[in-house]
Symmetry: C2
């Protein structure tokens, strides 16, 4: 992974966990899937564990599991569980805020960012982990020699 968001990374990991519910997956295995590093996986999933989305177990046959059905996990839940924001930061240095104009800009932008966060959260609420997982294997291709019925 060169540069994407931690949210994307988390989603990728969660889809893997969702697709293999029967056994725990190790950070190392996930890291291979995500083309990244086990420590990065632990850092990201660690935040999701604190939110009760996943669980980790140490020792033999340890690893990560999904704790809830994918249909019940919205992207908003995941997003909220992680510290990060999808919006860039716009606050000025404390020093610069001696200028009245800087404070005015910061105020207006701050209100905007707060509104924007709410809008983004509402939009993320409408997508579940399951939505992504189903898209990953689009339609179990309608086979020609198949189980579809005519008439």
């Amino acid at each position: 992974m060169k540069r994407s968001s931690r949210l994307s990374l988390a989603l990728h990991a969660l889809v893997h966990l969702h697709k293999q519910p029967d056994q725990a997956i190790t950070s190392t295995t996930l890291a291979t899937c995500l083309m990244t590093n086990p420590v990065v996986v632990r850092r990201v999933l660690g935040e999701l564990r604190e939110a009760g989305i996943v669980a980790s177990t140490k020792g033999h046959d340890g690893g990560w599991r999904l704790l809830r059905p994918a249909t019940d996990i919205s992207l908003r839940t995941i997003y909220s569980a992680m510290g990060e924001s999808l919006l860039i930061r716009t606050e000025s240095d404390p020093g610069d805020r001696q200028c009245g104009i800087v404070r005015a800009v910061d105020t207006v932008m701050g209100e905007f960012i707060a509104d924007a966060e709410a809008l983004l959260a509402a939009r993320l609420e409408r997508v579940s982990l399951d939505d992504i997982a189903r898209q990953a294997v689009p339609h179990p291709l309608p086979s020609h020699s198949g189980d579809h019925h005519h008439g």
Copy 2:
């Protein structure tokens, strides 16, 4: 300036131009106000010039001017004039996209980001440069020894 957005920087500069409509302001003067560097000012205002928001003149008494009334300049106009996005980038490496899950995540996130950009733009449309300028000098303080008339 340590770390804020280019949009904030642009707004700050534009408020200064708005407050001094009678003469052009040089990049160097603006840089002092913005606690930054003349070249950075030129880079940012250069984009706004291409959008017809400001004009620059070279040579003696040269500098920057606002071309339109502040009430007619929405934050969306300014935002659109600048290349930047307020949302962080979420696309994965081309290499990672061989994985179907990565593609699914990218697709969903891409749709989300597109929607989000539209939401942000609509929200920015509702704020004008003048709104910020007026907030910067809240109410011309009613002076005690003053020019206000009684009864």
